[in-house]
Every structure is written in C-alpha cells, then in structure tokens.
Symmetry: D2
Subunit: 291 residues, 4 copies
C-alpha cells in the first residue's frame, strides 16, 4: 500500500523562481516529492505546475496545508498578485465522487463502472443520472443510485435545477457525460463546471450531430473520439484526450459506430483517470496534461 499523497496543481502568470519556491515549500516541511511537472507557455506567459508528495512525514497537518501555503506564497512573493492564480490541493486518499450521466447507450457506462470496480479509477460512483429509464437495471446491479430526470425544451430549466440539487446532495466532484447526448446550459455550467464529455469524433472535425454519418459521407480514412470539458459552446471545450482508428471504404456507418464505441470508451476512461489524478490543468481553452 503506497503512502497517501498530496497534489498541488497551480497555474499562474509566469515569473522567476516559481519552480524553486514551490519545491521549497514542500521540502521545508520535509515532504518527499514523488512527481513534479512544470510547463511554461511562453506565448501566454502562463506557468503551470503539478507537485505530488507523500503525506507520511509531512510537517503540516493536512487540514492546514492550504492556509500554510497561502501564507508561504504571500511571504515569499510567489505571485505578483493572486489575480490569475488558480490552485488546488487534493489528497490521494479522498476519492473523487462521480456522477455518470447517460442516455440510451450503455457501453461507456459499463466501461466506467467496471474500471472503477477493478480499482483502475480511484473514485466512488454514488450516482447515475439519465433522461431515460433504460440504464436503471445496470445501476441497481451495482448498488448505485439511479435518478431519472426527463428533459424537454420546456422542462429543461427545472430539470437542471433538480440535477444541480442531486449533485449537491451526493457531494459530487465530477460529472461524466457518458453519451448523455444533451447540451448543458450556460447557467448550469456556471454553477457546476467540472464536467467531462465524450464526443464521437476527432474534434474539431464533425462537431455537432451525427459525426459518424458525416465521417462516412466525407470518406475519411481515420475516425476519432475526443474527451473534453463541457462548456457553453457545444464541442468547443478544452480537449483532454483524443484517439483514432483507421477505417476503409468497406466500413459502413454501422461499422464506424461499432469501431467508434471502442474509441469512446478508451478516450473517456483515460480522460477521467487523468482528471482524477489531477493531471489536467486548464488554461484558456486548452489543457496541459501532465502524464
């Protein structure tokens, strides 16, 4: 059993000394860094960093690490100001709580549940939410609460209010749109922004509806899938992960859909895992992924 770890993720305007000062913070309190990644986007003037260290033997009680870090940052002038600084502390032994949202396709749902059960997704899945009833038996089989919230254009605001209430009740950290096939409103995303979506194309190609049909019509030789954070602009959010598979003239639309399901499962699972390990840092409409 490895020691639990703390991960500090940070993005801020670049300035000299950040790598040294961040590492110094951990070292001063006797932390043993096991992963350290940094990236500077010279064009944007942004510094991004992810530090992971063992909690065993670390000189600050875990509930005080945040406050201590803020003090340290102010004292050491880590940032010119806190404007534009985004940071997060996350302990590895506090599992993320996921809500999986589905519609009528089950392959991504099965995949995520089975990975979680196998210990490959360090998280809990207390909640499945759908605009259809079909997936209820799968949820029940694994003892996961299932909530059916139908959505029509008229009821959408009320549905989203219910959804937000459930996310709050279940203390959800991350929503996974596992082929949910519905757009979330800007209002929803303002209140809950941690949402990963899987799009069944190699974005930005074939954004929007029916990507496999359009890929077939265009005669492409490769299809793809894209996991990204949901934003108010459909299929325009920061991309986390993409993968592709070759296709040929022999593949019908049904073949593309079938081949695509493997891509969707793998790309979504990789993106979720990266998020759960706090390896994805968003800046602008982009991500740095510290693999």
């Amino acid at each position: 059993m490895p020691s639990p770890t703390m991960t500090l993720s940070i993005s801020c305007p670049d300035q000299r000394g950040l790598v040294a000062k961040l590492a110094q913070f951990v070292y001063r309190y006797n932390g043993n860094i096991i992963h350290a990644d940094h990236h500077t986007d010279a064009v944007a003037g942004i510094f991004l960093s992810r530090l992971e260290w063992e909690l065993d033997g670390f000189g600050i009680p875990r509930e005080q690490i945040g406050a201590t870090f803020i003090n340290y940052a102010q004292r050491e002038k880590l940032f010119a100001s806190w404007q534009g600084v985004r940071w997060q502390l996350r302990a590895s032994d506090v599992p993320y709580r996921l809500a999986i949202w589905v519609s009528r396709q089950e392959h991504c749902l099965w995949d995520l549940i089975l990975r979680q059960r196998a210990g490959d997704l360090p998280a809990e899945i207390p909640l499945i939410l759908s605009n259809h009833e079909q997936m209820r038996p799968i949820a029940e089989q694994f003892g996961i609460d299932f909530h059916y919230i139908p959505v029509t254009p008229d009821t959408k605001p009320m549905a989203e209010a219910k959804q937000l209430q459930l996310l709050n009740d279940y203390k959800i950290d991350l929503v996974i749109l596992a082929k949910y096939m519905q757009v979330l409103s800007p209002q929803f995303l303002e209140q809950f922004s941690q949402v990963i979506n899987i799009h069944h194309s190699f974005l930005p190609a074939f954004a929007g509806a029916n990507p496999y049909h359009r890929a077939h019509e265009r005669g492409v030789k490769i299809i793809g899938a894209t996991a990204h954070y949901a934003t108010a602009d459909l299929d325009e959010g920061p991309i986390i992960e993409q993968a592709v598979v070759p296709v040929s003239h022999r593949d019908t639309v049904a073949d593309l859909i079938r081949k695509g399901k493997d891509l969707e499962r793998i790309v979504l699972a990789r993106a979720v895992r990266l998020h759960l390990q706090n390896r994805v840092l968003v800046y602008g409409n982009r991500t740095a992924v510290f693999t």
Copy 2:
C-alpha cells in the same frame, strides 16, 4: 524480376455476375490473376473491382486488350449500359510520368525524388514545376527539368495555360502538389484531373490556411495530414490517405510544423504509390483503396 502485369480497374452500377464475368475474361485468355479485389457499395449501388494478372502467357497482345475487353463486355452484357462505367487498363512496365509541383518547402520534393531513385515509386519524374526559383538546384542535381512559372491573381489564367502545355509536352500522367500552396482553377482541373494534393491537417478539421496554427490554438492532442485528389472545392476532394501523430501542450506551433512534415511526407508518398499501382478507385467524392 517479376513478370509485368496488367491491371484492370473498374467501377460501374452493380449487377449480378460481375466478379465471375470479369475473372472469366482474364481466365479465358489464359491470364494468371495475382490480385483480385472487389467491393460493392450497397448504398450507392456501385461495384468496384481491381484485377491484376501476369502478361506473360496472356492470350491477347497488350495493345488489343482494351478493344477485346469492350467486345467481351458487350457480348456478355457485363453492364446494363456503359453509362456510369469507368474503367482503366494499365501495364506495370509502362511507368507513370509524374510532375511534381512545389513552392518554397522542400521536404516532400526530396522525399518523392529519393523514393523514386530507390525504386520504391514505380514512376518517372521528368518535370518539376514551381512558382518560385528556390527548388531549381534540387531538380538540376537529379537531372530533372525545372520550370519556373510565377503566379499572381492577374497572371493565373496564363500561368495555367503554360502549365497545361508543359503537362502535355512532357506526357505527364499525374501531378503531385508537393506543398504547392496554390489552388488550381476549375478550368484547369477540367482539362487535367489527375492531381494529388497533400493537406497539412486531418481533414475535414482545419481545412484552408494555417492548419498548424489553428490546431495549436484549439489545443488538439493529435495532428494529421491528408492526401486527396484536388478538386475545384479547396480541401474537399476524395481522400486517399490520412495519418496522425500525438502532440501535447509542450509542442509549439514550430513543433507541430516539424512533426507535421514527417506526416506530410509519408502520407503523400503512400497516396502516390497507391495511385501508381492503380489501387485507388474514385466514386462520388470517395475512394476505395485496394491495399
């Protein structure tokens, strides 16, 4: 030294018996089929076929094969009508004659010339054509004629007339736009349609200008390149071949361009080779590629 072969490529409205009758044509004259590929696009109702057989021992003199095939097709009612039938006969020992068109980037030009020299592209390259002078030394080094034809919006019609004259003079079968970076007019393509272009993106993503810059801005995790037949609609022609390579937040635009050059060389060379082996059949805006 393998025996020279004849390849019959055909696309036509589907009907029963085509595989049998086409193969029978070869067998009746004692031809030894070494490759036979067929595909039916059930949705479009199109039959596509590629038959390759050894010329040694074949019972029809090669200059009469076309006429004999037409007679056979009529007698055996191979087609309901010749409407919609496209067919081609091509002997493997009559090399294609290529014209490579370039602008100011040299990587695809070097690549094609070196592959041809190494015997990996069964073709002759008598002509290089450019709207700049920079590539002339490369052409001269390999004893290839180089023609400089500058193109401005005003002179484009005259330039295209010169280009067409050269294609005719040099008996060119296939034009390769090896980073030529200029659009051909519909009038040009009506008179010479055998043109392969390389686009430096994973089409249909980032069609048009500056794909690497736009890929970088969008934050994609994979970039690609696409070889396609040129059509009057920019970047909309039938796709022959695509390939991709992973990128990350660490890659600058310059890195994408550098990584993309490897893709462009390989994708273009593969597409050209497939065309030279008569493995690419166009139907509608799509291709069947018999690999």
Copy 3:
C-alpha cells in the same frame, strides 16, 4: 434486416482460373456476391479466397450447397487434387457457439459478454468454463452456464476429458481463452482445434510468462497484445491480430498491466469477430485476414 449470406472460405494450391471458377459457381446459381477477396501467396504457391453472397434467391437449397460445390469442383477441375484443399461453408444466420474460458481475471470476459449482448459479436455464448470459481456470478448474471473444472498437473488429462465432453455437449464451435492462463495439451488440440488465445505481449517479444514485468525490465517504449490460434507450442500459433500502446519511464509494472488490459480486450474482441465472420484463413503458421 440484411439478407442472410453464405460464405465460402477456401485455401488450396494455386492454379489458373480459380477466381473465375469460384465466382462462376456462385453466379451460375444466381447468387449475388457482396464480398470477394482473394490472395495468392506466390512463395508458398497457395491460393486463398473468401466469397460471400446473399442466400435470398440463390439457386441451391442451403443444405445442398456443399455437395453441389464438390460436384462443381470436380467437374470443372477446380483443384489438381483435393490434397491440400481446405474449405468451409458457413451461413451468417447460424450463429457460432462460443465457450469462454477464464481464470481469475475478468476484464476480457466482461468485454466479450457485453459485446455479444450489444449485437457486436454475431454468436451465442452458452458456456463459461474456469479453473476457479470467481467468475461464476458474472456467468449467472447473464444466464450463462458456468462449469468449474480445477486443473492440476495430475488431474489435467481428466480435466481435459471433461472439457472436451462439455464442448461436445454444448455444440461449441470456438473456444476463447480469455486470460485462461493454462496451456492446452497437444492431445486436446488434436480433438478440438478452434481455439483463440490472447497473449499479453507483442509476440514474438516476451512469449511465455510475465510479459509485462519483462517489458518493464527491458525498458521498451511500446507494449502490445496478440490474439492467435492456440497450438501445442506455447505462444507460437498463427497470429490473427495485434495492437500496441506507447509507454514511458513513468509507467510502473502496474501501469503496464492496466494499459495492457485495454489492449487485450480490444485485440481479443477483434480477433473473435474476424473469426466469426470467417475472415481468417490459416495456412502454414500464418493467417490471411480478409478485412
């Protein structure tokens, strides 16, 4: 609902006219060929072919197609002799019956069952067989018979006798070793040869035990998985399908195992699907895969 089809797979010593005569057999009885693939291995002198045609409107009752084909082959001198000829007829609406053999890992088992349920594997799964009890609940959940047959060096002959009896009782066409982790004896394979195995390496690298550990130790930058027909020589059977995934110095053995599970599932499922569609022809220790 597409029409059911008949598929004729054949491998035989090469001679002229085979493509024509095989297609002629289908056409003579008014069959509509929808796929036709041929390959000649010039070095081995072997001809391989796969013809698929619609049964609707075909002029031979399906139970007589085999006998009619034999007559036709003899009359038309399709083969110099029947020595070295291997052929098979298979209708698409007679599903294969699969037995999945497992040990203590469940990911491939789940994967195959879920694909079959989703309609992506055209087959029935009446039987799961294991040398451990752990997977019984999964079998029961889907109403699949589960047989527990422990195997020790001493009891192996008796265990294999039981296994063969079960394959016979359940009319099994194809055994899938879905991480069964046991070698089958030559005696077993003589009596039942249709066995697909998944090996968790990019064969022939790391044949044998603990491939992920050895891959980690060797410091490779890519790992793979291989689906092959089981033979008496461990990990030496004809390869059907392979796939790979990049790894880095950051990946521990546990990471390789986790990444490998995705490969194993996909490669095994692809190989099984190809087999079920009669697209895999074995000759010598190799396969031709008509995709």
Copy 4:
C-alpha cells in the same frame, strides 16, 4: 531568435529536497527556468532530473557554471556522496558534432542530412564514415568529409583504432549508426560510448539478423523499429524510441523492408533529436525520456 539555454541533466540516488535544491541553484543566480522535468524510479531508488534555463541574465559566466554547481552541491549536501551521481551541463548554442556511420543503405543518411540542413536537428555533421564506398557522393554533395574504412574480422581492431582516431580528430560527440550493420567491440565502446543505433525490428522481437524476413515468416501483423544506445551486447542497449506500422498477409518481405525504411528514418531521427536536446537520461539498462 530564442535566448540560448543551459541544460542540467542529473541522475543520482534519491533523497528529499532534490527538486527544491536544484531549482534553487538556478533561481539563486537569477536563472529563468523554461523546462523542468523530474522522475523518481521508486524501485531503483534513482532520481532523474532535467532543468533548462535561459542563459541571458544568468548570474554565473557559462564557463564557471560547472564548478559553481559542484560547490553548491557540496555546500547544500545535494548528494549523500558523489557515488552514483551522473550529471551533465550543455549549452544549446554549442552544437553537437555528429559522425554518421553507414554501410550500403542510404535512406537514413539522406534523412539525417536533410533534417540537419532544414534546421530540425540542432547539430553539425562533419564526418561520414563507412565500410563501403557507395555513399561517398552523397557526403561530397553536402561538403561532408567521408572516410572509407573497410572492416574484416582480421582488420577490425585496426579499423576501430582508425575510427576512434577520427572521432577524436573531428571532436565528435555522438556517433549515429545509420544502418551501419556492424557490431562495435566492447573495447571500442569503452572508449567512445555515445553511440545510437537503429534496429529494424520492434525489440526485443527479432533481435539479431534479418528481422524483416523473420517477421514475415512469423506472420506478425505489426512491424517496428527501435533506436537504442549501442552496447557490447548486440541489440540489448537502452531503448530510446520505438514505432510500429501495421502489415498484412499481402505484404511480402520486400514490402516489409520498404515500410520499415520509413519507420527506421523516423525512429532514428526522433532518437537523435531527443539526445541532442539532452532529453534522454540512461540509468541501468533503461532510459527516461523527458519529452
């Protein structure tokens, strides 16, 4: 024009504070870190780090950086001892000097020269060395000195003495075996260890001679190429980079060789580029590659 940078690469026994102290060294002298990568191999107890910072404005004259670092390391107790510490300082504006060794195949030689000319390999190529005369014209065309040193079992020691003398005379940093097809003796490698080789298989599969023939015989569905540091054990050195390409039953040995050439060029070029950017750290028989 970006500022020149200094890169410090280091591998040493792991202990607390290394990230902080190394970064502190750069920061104390006002260095602006633009890349920082660290990796701890917990099993081996090894810490690996690569720090790159801008030389403009750095507070130590470049010729004193090494001595200052040693002082700093001693004062700050960076290492328990210098036992097991390997470190290197390298400025980005002092180009590596490469010797390319070839035999009778030219594709990798062309590729490396053209990349260097295009500015994609930050290095100089003053020397080409071969056991055959064929490549001399290519060397001369680009104004590169070419030395012909034939090698027979009898003359090998003398040949290696000459080779070492040339490496010394030309102040070579890195030897690239670009299809040199000869093994270097342990004595040679003791005196000059910076040697990258390209092997035309997916190691450890098909180590040794004729990998493409053996891959064809085994019927694999994917072939690969591997760039690694040369060691006295043939094809057993630390792997830097690998890549693969799918093949099928239609591919002859000649096709594998042709497809493999693209792999070899790309894999070798990537490995060389990574080495030139000091991104490859060797430890044990493995590499950490900080991409």
